[in-house]
Amino acid sequence: MLRRRTSLYAVAICCLLAGNVQATEPAASNWPAGIRLLPGENERSHRSIRAAFREAVSHANECTVSVRSDGSQVALGTIIHADGYVVTKASELPENVTCQLSDGRQVAAKLVALHPDYDLALLKVNASRLPAIHWGDSSQLNAGSWLATTSLTEEPTAIGIVSSPARPLPKPQAMLGVGLEQFGELPRINRVIDGSAAANAGLQIGDVIAKVNGQAMDGPQTVSATIRNLLPGERVSLVIKRRGRSLSIPAILGDATRIGNLEQVELMESLGGPLSQRRTGFPYVLEHDTVLRPKDCGGPLVDLDGNAVGINIARVSRVSSYALPASAIKPILADMMAGKFPAPTNGLALETVSAGE
């Protein structure tokens, strides 16, 4: 069985440079997301090693919920208050979810608060006297500290270490990748950076950028101000004047902190497994090397004392996952419970379902 499965995969060997980004055939990225091989005897995540974490996660796994939709898990959640308050990753939630508790109960859930910057959603479930998570001190957490991502069972879903202590994330900056000059009343391209969004979109030296997302441009400054307000990965529509013709050209913006094609960067980052849709723009993160699936986010990340030092918020790349550090989000969760970040009434309308379903 094992042999048959493994032969499905093509093995791609890539050099590891940032900046000079690797291209690869799509076949190499078709990692079947649903299949997980059992870790081998010598692997860090082997069963015998995860088993040693049982004592550490014995309380936190009771405070972990599986947030589900249509019979399958979309995220994990963390019980933060005995009265049924569960925090989870907002952007993974479809309209209707239920929560499965560690005792097996499936209970209705209602969205009560939303914090878009941290991508946190607060759910209220129809249950009371629930075990609430014990928080740890994330500011005292050094690189190399063990971390366990809990599950609803006695063993953690995954384990890892702190790769880099908690830090603020720089705001991502979008880049089109052109040099511009004033040409009459319009901005004209005098340079196209290799591998940039502009190069990928086929922009050429001499092209005049007349409009960005429908907005008229009157010079280089207007273009950079417009791009600055967008995010890497966003699609912009450009109106280009080239040799007397007007062309409508879409472009996917690049990341100014990286050189090269964003698609290629992402392809390399996702080698080995799928990434969370929303994985940038968090104000503060704890970077760890736990291998998570996107649907493992939203649950507690605990230290060896069993205290939650963070909430997993994104699978970011092949090498890292982000957690929101406990010290950063505790005040925010309190605000969310106090009604400061009410859920939009027309947004994620979470339908109530009957308990025990």
Partner: protein, 376 residues
């Protein structure tokens, strides 16, 4: 396979189809080619770990560690024995945290041209181990960022492309500085199961982010040419160190495969063995999977480097080589016979420009040739 990528000199993907490391191991022969070897690794067998009690002598040792109530001695845990308890995990954690504090300052960010990678300082005078595909070639300027944010400049020395070993020397500063360094270990003593720690700057250097560490275990050793671990790596980690649990450098981050368990490191003994050539800025070998070629054939019985055949559309044809030309020098080196010519070509990297001196009739000509790549 190399589509969209011609502008990136260092860009490379070797795709080994249908080959899984669980069933087969990637090994590299003396000629540097990656080939498949149908050796079944022991990792294929799923072993249910037996809970064994410690031997009496080990138990004694364990008791002597006053802070722990565990049965497993730290040394055997670090060699790969499964931790049995929370106390075992805490012992590993304390060891790893201390190790990181001690060795992380030796990990540096490396920028050479547009390429961003990592490196590790291994001597007080500032020799830095890195990957050949980070430095590219000898004599280039490298920008290094130390853990404390200090930026220093260095010069790239030798590159051994076949095994992806590169060396940088931090330029002399005024006044001369002694650099904090890590010691090179012995990669021959590395065994599957041992814990290890990879460091580097994944995604490139980021201000406010120290070198990023990943903890994993050694999974396999392939023919002394690579160490495979489950310390996950990505672009920007290239050239960064793989530390053993004694804090010594056992490898240098090099390449990855699709599965999270295929993270390949250059064994540190490669640097020991090839130290003299690396330090004197030799550049040799070629990137595995991309063979350099020029497109000529020698005469069946000739004992000099006379070209018998030039294949159309090849670098040799583009350079103007013709059947009957006698190659005298290739890239500055004297060519005695066709075999010598072949070995000189195989030391070049595709894309390199070389000067070829030939004799045609009574004239001596100098031709410029760009080495081509034959994918395999």
């Amino acid at each position: 396979m190399f589509n969209r990528s011609h502008s990136y000199r260092l860009l490379r993907v070797v795709l080994v189809r249908g080959l899984s490391l669980r069933e087969r191991t990637l090994v590299r022969g003396a000629n540097g080619h990656v080939r498949s070897n149908a050796v079944v690794l022991s990792a294929t067998v799923i072993v249910i770990a037996c809970i064994t009690s410690a031997l009496p002598s080990q138990a004694e040792e364990a008791r002597s560690q006053a802070t722990r109530e565990t049965a497993t001695p730290l040394a055997s845990l670090l060699q790969g024995d499964a931790p049995q308890s929370l106390a075992d995990l805490k012992a590993i954690q304390t060891h790893v945290q201390n190790l990181i504090q001690q060795v992380l300052p030796t990990t540096v960010a490396v920028q050479v041209g547009l390429a961003q990678g990592s490196g590790v300082i291994i001597s007080a005078e500032g020799f830095v181990l890195t990957a050949a595909h980070v430095t590219g070639e000898p004599g280039r300027t490298a920008r290094l960022v130390l853990q404390d944010g200090t930026v220093v400049s260095g010069t790239t020395l030798g590159v051994y492309r076949t095994l992806d070993a590169g060396l940088i020397k931090i330029n002399q500063t005024q006044p001369a500085r002694e650099w904090q360094y890590a010691t090179m270990g012995d990669s021959n003593n590395v065994a599957p199961g041992q814990w290890c720690l990879a460091a580097g700057h994944p995604g490139g250097f980021q201000a406010d982010r120290p070198p990023v560490v990943r903890l994993g275990r050694v999974l396999s050793l392939n023919d002394n040419s690579t160490i495979t671990t489950d310390c996950t790596l990505i672009g920007g980690d290239s050239g960064g160190p793989l530390f053993g649990m004694d804090g010594k450098v056992i490898g240098v981050n090099s390449r990855i495969g699709n599965p999270l368990t295929v993270n390949l490191h250059v064994p540190v003994n490669t640097f020991r063995t090839e130290w003299d050539r690396l330090a004197r800025s030799d550049s040799w070998g070629h990137t595995p999977g991309r063979d350099p070629f020029i497109g000529v054939q020698g005469g069946p019985e000739s004992n000099d480097a006379t070209i018998h055949r030039v294949f159309p559309g090849t670098p040799a044809a583009d350079a103007g080589l013709k059947p009957g030309d006698l190659v005298l020098r290739f890239s500055g080196r004297r060519v005695a016979d066709f075999t010598t010519l072949q070995s000189y070509v195989s030391d070049e990297e595709p894309g390199n420009r070389v000067t070829v001196v030939i004799q045609r009739d009574e004239r001596t000509l100098e031709l410029q040739l760009v080495i081509g790549a034959r994918n395999n």
